[in-house]
């Protein structure tokens, strides 16, 4: 009853949002952000390494850093971000209705989402794949051993469908137990209701290392059953804003490629002879004005969050609590597939 009301309210909010100002959003997101003095960023309710609030209400994570970088580029201050925690089902409605400017909530890019939701995908910040978390005690070594078993999963995710596709293709007859909230799905797995818990491998690492009482009791199976390119989404129809978000991410990627870090940005800005670095930091060419921003947009973003590699290391990398290997997310010239189009 309560949930129904909540959902209905959400739709009504979406509908009234739609009523209030129809095409006024187009091209106006940046103006609205500047007038408001804040980027409103839809994030996960709590997924360590991607977006999670600490006890002081300070948000950290890869998705959070994207928001901070964008805020630094547009508003010159990475702190001018308002975080709106969203669960899996709320997220698209929140973005469609204009409640958030950018949805940085470990969201998978798919055709359906791109083509039918009125949203635009920007750039991939994390290449992921779906896996399974099982207890060490169960002695399960491969996903093929999950035949006929119950698997806990969060609703409103691509995960649910991947699980079904995989179960069907491999003839496993897996029984999903679907929860609305991430915390409930994790809780049910830890209580022993399900033999396995499934979500993106990065999410599993987060759950295993941050939520489990003893991480050693749980193991992530080697099988990955899907491609999950995660990245921020924006409302369709505002190409200026889409470009800003997209090129901020590309800029952070390219600055890693060319060795620009938060620590050496000032030095590079003053001394670097490399024309690429000059463009990135705005010491020579002004590429910011093409995006409707100033010359130092990316310099500020790099100063705020570090380059892509630093963001990765700090939040999810081998030295962080999640201990995720760089893998696919390494630069294209270092064995990964992160390849930013040139900023010129």
């Amino acid at each position: 009853m309560k949930l129904i009301r909540l959902k209905t309210a959400m739709v009504l909010v979406a509908a009234t949002g739609a009523l209030a100002a129809a095409p006024a959003f187009a091209g106006k997101t940046v103006d609205a952000i500047k007038a408001r003095g804040q980027v409103i960023c839809g994030v996960n309710t709590g997924l360590a390494g991607f977006s999670a609030a600490d006890s002081n209400g300070k948000w950290t994570g890869m998705d959070v850093d994207v928001c901070r970088a964008v805020a630094a580029a547009v508003l010159s201050d990475p702190e001018k971000v308002k975080y709106v925690p969203l669960n899996a089902q709320q997220r698209f409605t929140a973005l469609q209705s204009g409640e958030v400017d950018i949805l940085a909530r470990n969201t998978t890019f798919t055709l359906t989402r791109d083509a039918s939701l009125g949203l635009s995908q920007t750039a991939v910040t994390y290449y992921d794949g779906q896996g399974f978390l099982v207890t060490t005690k169960s002695k399960i070594k491969s996903a093929k051993q999950l035949k006929g078993q119950t698997v806990c999963v969060q609703s409103g995710t691509t995960t649910e469908k991947n699980l079904t596709d995989y179960s069907k293709a491999a003839g496993l007859n897996i029984k999903p137990v679907v929860f609305e909230k991430l915390e409930a799905a994790e809780g049910a797995y830890f209580s022993g209701r399900c033999v396995a818990y499934t979500t993106d491998a990065s999410g599993l690492a987060s759950t295993r290392n941050k939520v489990a009482k003893n991480p050693a009791d749980h193991v992530i199976l080697p099988d990955l059953i899907s491609k999950e390119p995660l990245g921020p989404m924006v409302r369709r129809g505002d190409d200026d804003w889409t470009a800003i978000v997209k090129w901020t991410i590309y800029g952070l990627l390219e600055s890693e490629e060319y060795g620009v870090t938060a620590a050496n940005a000032d030095d590079q800005k003053a001394n670097s002879k490399d024309p690429v670095v000059g463009r990135l930091l705005g010491s020579t060419e002004d590429i910011g004005k093409l995006l409707g921003l100033d010359k130092e947009w990316l310099y500020r973003a790099i100063k705020a969050t570090g380059n892509y590699g630093e963001i990765f290391e700090r939040n999810v990398g081998p030295k962080s609590a999640l201990q995720l290997p760089r893998g696919l997310n390494n630069q294209w010239n270092k064995g990964g597939i992160q390849y930013a189009p040139p900023l010129r």
């Binding site: 698209f92 989402r113 039918s116 119950t150 596709d165 609305e180 409930a184």
Partner: protein, 391 residues
Amino acid sequence: MTTPSTPPKKPWSWRSQAFRGLIYQVVTVVLIVLVVLYLANNTNTNMKARGIQSGFDFMMGGAGFDIGESLFPYDSADPYWKAFLVGFVNTLRVAVVGIVLTTILGTIIGVGRFSRNALVRGLCLCYVEFFRNIPILLQLLMWYLMFTEVLPESAAPLTLGPLFLSKGGLNFPIPIWSGGYTLGAWGLLAGIVAAVFYRRYAHASFERTGVPKSTILTPIGIAIGLGLLGWLLGGAPTDMNRPVQGEFAIENGGALTPEYMSVLLGLTVYTASFVAEVVRGGIQSVALGQSEAASALGLARGQTMRLVMLPQALRVIIPPLTNQYLNLTKNSSLAVAIGYPDVVSIANTAINQTGRAVECIAVIMLVYLSTSLFTSVMMNWYNNRSAIQER
């Protein structure tokens, strides 16, 4: 010549009250229709303007997701409407069974509040005050925690005869369907019809002769007896599909998942506390003289309650009882919090996969609206039947 006549019917006038009334009504209806049309049209236009696709065409496309429990065969390749149907049936499964159990439990507790035994009275009072003052969502989570935390792993279940109780739920043997059972079912059906006729005969006979005949035990005996007879004639099959211990979980047999049991238990226990109050209020509304008169006639306390008090209390009980049934049905939507695949849960998944939020919410509303209206209609029919017959 003047003929005193009844005042002539007023000629129709633009200024007559009737006409004004009509105008007001027409204007109101037109306004409401216009507002609804405006909202619908505007939402539609704006969704189109932003490139959000809409429409119910997705219902025919493949759903592509599995559902944990279903009363009938469902495959992920089936269309969305079938997935919604599974959810709807799952909702009904909770609502119907819940309503029956709630009625029984609520009546027992409500009647218990009038017990002469102070302990029974006190316990019933505690039950009501405890369960109706804790939010239902918390209670559902509590039951679910009990099932998933307290019970043993499915690898080492509690065994109660042929029953297995574990984190995987309750597993029980189910008969393997064969000719004998079909015959037994027909026998039971015939038995029920025969029992109904016997009851009518017993009532008539009591009215005529004043000699009471059993109107409860004998008919039940007839129904069960004929059912047994059919089963025996069919060769008395006893083959059961028994649950067995698998490697990680219990396999075969019938099963109730912890999600279903938690939802059912939670809703039943919660709503029963309200029903108990409704029943208590109904009984208290019957004049004290009725119970005294019944005692004066020599009826035992149980008989007084069953034959005199409850039938009269029923007239007061039914309308608020209908509300409680509706609440139970609607509260079942909270099941999504503990992973039970009811219609809300299915719609959530469908919204995410197709992005048709408005359409899916409309389906949910339609489901609850039609279920609730149907319940109301049935209860109103029963209310009319049990109302005082003016003679």
